[in-house]
Each structure stands twice: as C-alpha cells, then as structure tokens.
C-alpha cells in the first residue's frame, strides 16, 4: 500500500503533447478516478505510472521510491487492461497465476493464492475454463483476480468496464467499490464515463488535452466545477451555457435575467444545470417551445428553444408537455454559475 505522486509529468509523442506537466497526488489507499474525453491523456498518465511509457519530463513516486526510470516489473504495480489481456491458450487458473509463475512460484505454491484472489472476485468456479468459454463479465473478473493475486502497492485500471453492456456495468461498479473497501489498496481508475467517475471515486481528477482541470471529491467536481469544461463534462445532461449580455444593471443569459454582480470581466457566460431549470406550463418565466421530450423512467428531459437559446431541462415524470407547446422557464440566481468567457474559469 502506498501513495502515488505525479510531479510535473510531461509526455510527448513526437509533436503531440499527451501530458503537459501533470501534478497529481493519489493518497495511500485512495480510489482515484482519472476522467476526461478521448485523447485527454488519462490513459497515458496511467501507462506512465505503470512504466509502459517513459516520461518525457517530470517524476513519478510510489511510496517513498522514485520509480520514474524503473521497469514496470520493479514498480510493484498491477494493471488491468481495457481488453483484459487474457492469454487465450491458458486456463483461468493459469491466467490468474501467470505473474506468480513468472516470478518462479511452482503451481503448488501458486494455487492457494490464485484461489484466494478468485474468491475475492467471485470466479472460483471458473478456474478450469479457457477465456473463449467465458462471458465478458467473467473475463473481466479474471483480469481483476490476476491483478489482485500479487498484492501490489498500487492498482492501475484502464477503462475495465468499457467493454461490458450497460446493465452489467452498473452491477460491476458496485462490486468494484466493495472490492476496494475490502482490499483497501490504492487504486487509480481511468474512464471516459463521468457517471462512473462520480460513483466510484473517492476523488475525481478531470483531464482535458493533457492538463489537469480539477481534482476533488465527486461532490466538489459536480457542485463547484473549476471551469466551463468541467461544468459541461460532469453531469448528464450537460449544463446549459449561455453567453451573457449586460442589460442595464442586469445580466441577460438566454431567457433568464439575473442581477449583475460588480467587477465582472468584459465577457461572461452563465451556466445552469438542467435540474435547476424550473419549468411550468403556465405562470411566470420566459416562454420556450418544446422541441423534444425524452422520457427517462421517473424523470423527463425536455429540449426547449427559448428565442435564440436552446435549453435542456430535467423535470419530474409528471410533467410531459406535448411537442410544439409552450412552457415557461425560470432559474434561481443561486443555482447559476458564472464563467469568464475568455478563460473559462468559474467566477461565482
């Protein structure tokens, strides 16, 4: 068990800057999620931590060791690949015990450890089977068991749930969380799915284009996004962003009118999350035309058009206006976010 620290890590692939000076500390025993869109550098960060890629600059520490130039095997980490990387010609037991055998354990020595790891993930009944005989979820468990069996200081997981179907993904998420609670070792988890990030992580690190955008507990990242990117990336449906116009002493943002604060930069944007858009069929508020109605179980997503501004609202299931009808929208200033239109930083 150890902490993992990235200090000024840069990774260039020729002209492409995959990581630009990453500073990140993963606490001992923490479950940290690296999240961001494709190409943001999250997988690269993971691979440099594993030692599968060399850093162009900066350093990586595990515990009190500087592992920046150590080979992967010397770092005492375990990795779970997105494609699981199971050996097709080996049985589940042999797959799990692969690392042990590579380090010289005889099959007899390896067996109890393999069994223990298999039981932890729930695949102890599959030991004789070959990968091609397993379902996607089962394969994923085997990959996990293999990572567990060595009891490393840090676990690195690269989008392990991406290849599972939706239902399975949700179930496995909870199991992963339970696993982490039992094992307690530091885990670094990479995903592009922000829901996974929020539900799984003790802390969430949002990356974009090789730069860390925000690091904090899920709640922080959701309620107090550091900039427009984080605000839009986290939360589904995405936050509504309106360019703001100054009208007398107020700020007009889309259909909403807010009191303007003093000392605002020249151009600002206002963000309102879909769940904070209050929708009424009649009553106060600006008019908006209903264009699309998405029914999502006990919620409804409304895609509205108010003048020039498209708005997405998240409302209860009871409200189901018909397409083409007009509703009225309001929002509280307390729920709104202010962004500097130039830098994207959050102001309020």
């Amino acid at each position: 068990m150890a902490d993992l620290r990235f200090a000024g890590v840069r990774k260039d692939y020729g002209e492409v800057r995959a990581l630009r000076g990453l500073d990140l500390e993963v606490a001992d025993g923490e479950f940290l999620v690296l999240v961001g869109p494709s190409g943001c550098g999250k997988s690269t960060a993971l691979r440099t931590a594993a030692g599968l890629e060399e850093v162009t600059d900066g350093s990586i520490h595990i515990g009190d060791r500087d592992v920046t130039h150590l080979k992967p095997a010397e770092r005492n980490v375990s990795m779970v690949f997105q494609s699981y990387a199971l050996f097709p010609h080996l049985s589940v037991e042999e797959n799990i015990g692969f690392g042990l055998r590579a380090r010289g354990d005889r099959p007899k020595q390896a067996r109890p450890k393999v069994l223990a790891a298999a039981e932890l993930v729930g695949c102890e009944k599959l030991l004789e089977r070959k990968p091609f005989q397993l379902s996607g979820g089962e394969r994923q468990r085997v990959a996990l068991a293999r990572a567990l069996v060595r009891e490393p200081e840090v676990y690195l997981l690269d989008e392990p749930l991406s290849n599972l179907d939706a239902q399975l993904r949700v179930n496995t998420r909870a199991e992963l969380k339970r696993l982490h609670q039992r094992v307690g070792t530091t885990m670094v988890y990479v995903t592009h799915d922000q829901v996974e990030a929020l539900t799984l992580g003790d802390r969430v690190a949002v990356l974009d284009e090789g730069v860390l955008q925000q690091l904090g507990p899920p709640d922080d990242v959701y309620r107090r996004p550091a900039n427009r990117f984080v605000a839009r990336f986290i939360g589904s449906p995405a936050m509504n962003i309106f360019p703001a116009e100054r009208v007398d002493g107020s700020l007009r943002a889309g259909p909403f009118l807010f009191e303007a604060r003093p000392n605002l930069p020249a151009r600002v944007e206002v963000g309102v999350r879909p769940e904070h858009v209050q929708v009424d069929e009649g009553g106060e508020g600006a008019p908006a035309e209903v264009q699309v109605v998405e029914m999502a179980g006990n919620e409804t997503y409304l895609h509205l058009q108010a003048g020039d501004s498209p708005i997405v609202a998240r409302v209860g299931a009871a409200l189901r206006p018909s397409v083409g009808s007009t509703v009225h929208v309001r929002a509280n200033a307390a729920d709104a976010y202010l962004f500097d239109a130039e830098t994207g930083e959050t102001l309020s």
Binding site: G51, L52, E53, E54, H69, P88, H89
Partner: protein, 273 residues
C-alpha cells in the same frame, strides 16, 4: 524502460550474410574469365571485365528470352490477379459452410507438390497438342497460379466489415460490381503483394519451360541461362553475368514494391488463433 535496441546488431549481421550471395553474383560476373585463382577472396575484381556481359549476349539471345519472359508474365500476372481475387472474394462472401469447404480445398491443393503433377500435366498437354507453346506456362494463371494467392485475397476480403458489402448490395450492386468498386480498392497492398509474388514466380519458373519448350527461340530467361551454362560450363564470370541479367529485373521490381509486402500486419490476426 526500453533498453537501447539490441536488435540492430543481429539484424545487420543477417542482412549482410543474406546479401552476400547477391554480392558474389555481381562481383563474380566482373572477373576476367580465365585468370588464375586468387589467394584471398577479393572484394572487387580488377580489372572489371564488362566483356563478360557482352559475351553472354553473344552466346545466347538474352534480349529475346527477356522478351519471351515478359510476354508470359504480361499474361500471367493480370490473369492471376483477376482469378485469384475473384475466387477469394466469392469465398469471403459465401456462407460459412461452403466457404469453409473451399478453404479446406485450397489448403489441400496447396499441399500437393508441383513435382507430383509434372508428369501427368505434361501428358495432358501433349494430348491437347499444346507442347512447345506458352499455353502450359500461362494455364496456371487461369486458376490464380497458386491457391496461396487465393487464400491471401480471401483473408484480406474477410477483414473488410461486411456492412460495406451490405450497403453496396442495397444500392443494387451485384457481386462483380461490388468486387470492382468496393473490395479491390480496399486491398491494394495485397494486390501489389500478389502481383509481385506472381511476377517473381512466373519469371523464375524453370521447371515448366524446361519440359514444355523445345524451340530455342521460345526460351524464357531461366531456360536461356541454363542453355548458357551448357555452352560454356566452366566460364563462371560468363554464367554469373547471365545470372545477373536474369535476376536484375526481379530484384528491381521487388525492391521498389517491397514496402507493401513487408509492411506491418498488426491486428490482422492472420493465422494466430
């Protein structure tokens, strides 16, 4: 993490060793015929005897043989590309059972050595009165020259997402049109590879011309080279000069197109599992 590449040294060594024979071919062809044996292996002979090439051309009609070989190749290669890609395409589009049977048939046919067919093929062509013509030399091209080429095309076409073909089908394209418009443009590297392989094979083919061609003027280059060797058995520089002339076209073509050939097949999962 990655040590400086240790592969360079052994790879360079291998390259040198494997290029040595070709080097010897050229250097040997430039020796003055009839000189006493040298004490040590000489890197470059002196004087440089270009005359060997002249003499080779005098003794046997190399230009004519080259033309003959080109003639055969000009028919064999395009024909092979056509029939091999046709067969490979049809096999790739058929349902599993018939396709599997055809693949098995191809593998079996591949396993049959050409020498085993030498005598009976000759008999057949003799009965058809086609001895001493180029027909027996071009005939294999009608079936794609080798089941290996058919399989190469088959595997390449298999890798194309079937949705592309389905779309073509919905647009009203029949199999032939789909083959020409959709499939072939997507497998250019393989087409080049097969063309080169076929060219090399046909050009170098010694066995078939040996048994089918009797008129000296019809000889192909390998046969001409052999004729040269019977005319002046011990004049190595001469024979090597002829060899260089026979080899140069093939090597040149190969070097020009080898990047299609020796490119990465990563992700193809050819015969892995």
């Amino acid at each position: 993490m990655k040590p400086s590449n240790w592969r360079h040294l052994p790879a360079a060594l291998i390259a040198v060793v494997f290029l040595l024979p070709l080097y010897f071919m050229v250097s040997g062809s430039l020796r003055q015929a009839g000189l006493a044996p040298p004490r040590t292996p000489e890197l470059l002979p002196s004087p440089l005897a270009w005359g060997n090439y002249e003499r080779a051309f005098e003794l046997v009609d190399l230009p004519r043989y080259t033309l003959n070989s080109l003639f055969v190749v000009a028919f064999a290669v395009p024909l092979t590309l056509l029939t091999a890609s046709w067969a490979g395409f049809a096999m790739a589009r058929l349902s599993r059972r018939p396709a599997g049977a055809l693949v098995a048939l191809s593998l079996i046919a591949l396993m049959i050595p050409l020498t085993a067919l030498l005598v009976p093929r000759f008999t057949i062509f003799k009965e058809l009165g086609l001895i001493n013509t180029y027909v027996p030399l071009i005939a294999p091209a009608i079936m794609g020259t080798s089941p290996f080429y058919v399989l190469l095309f088959y595997w390449s076409f298999k890798r194309i997402p079937p949705e592309l073909f389905e779309t073509a089908r919905l647009e009203g394209l029949g199999p032939l049109a789909t083959w020409w418009r959709v499939a072939m443009p997507l497998v250019r590297p393989v087409t080049v590879a097969v063309a080169v392989l076929c060219f090399v094979f046909t050009w170098s083919n010694f066995l078939d011309p040996l048994i089918y061609l009797f008129d000296q003027e019809k000889f192909t280059v390998p046969l001409g080279l052999r004729a040269l060797s019977t005319l002046d058995r011990t004049n190595f520089p001469l024979l090597l000069a002829g060899s260089v002339v026979a080899t140069a076209p093939v090597v040149a073509v190969f070097i020009v197109v080898q990047r299609y050939f020796l490119q990465e097949f990563r992700g193809a999962g050819w015969l892995g599992r």
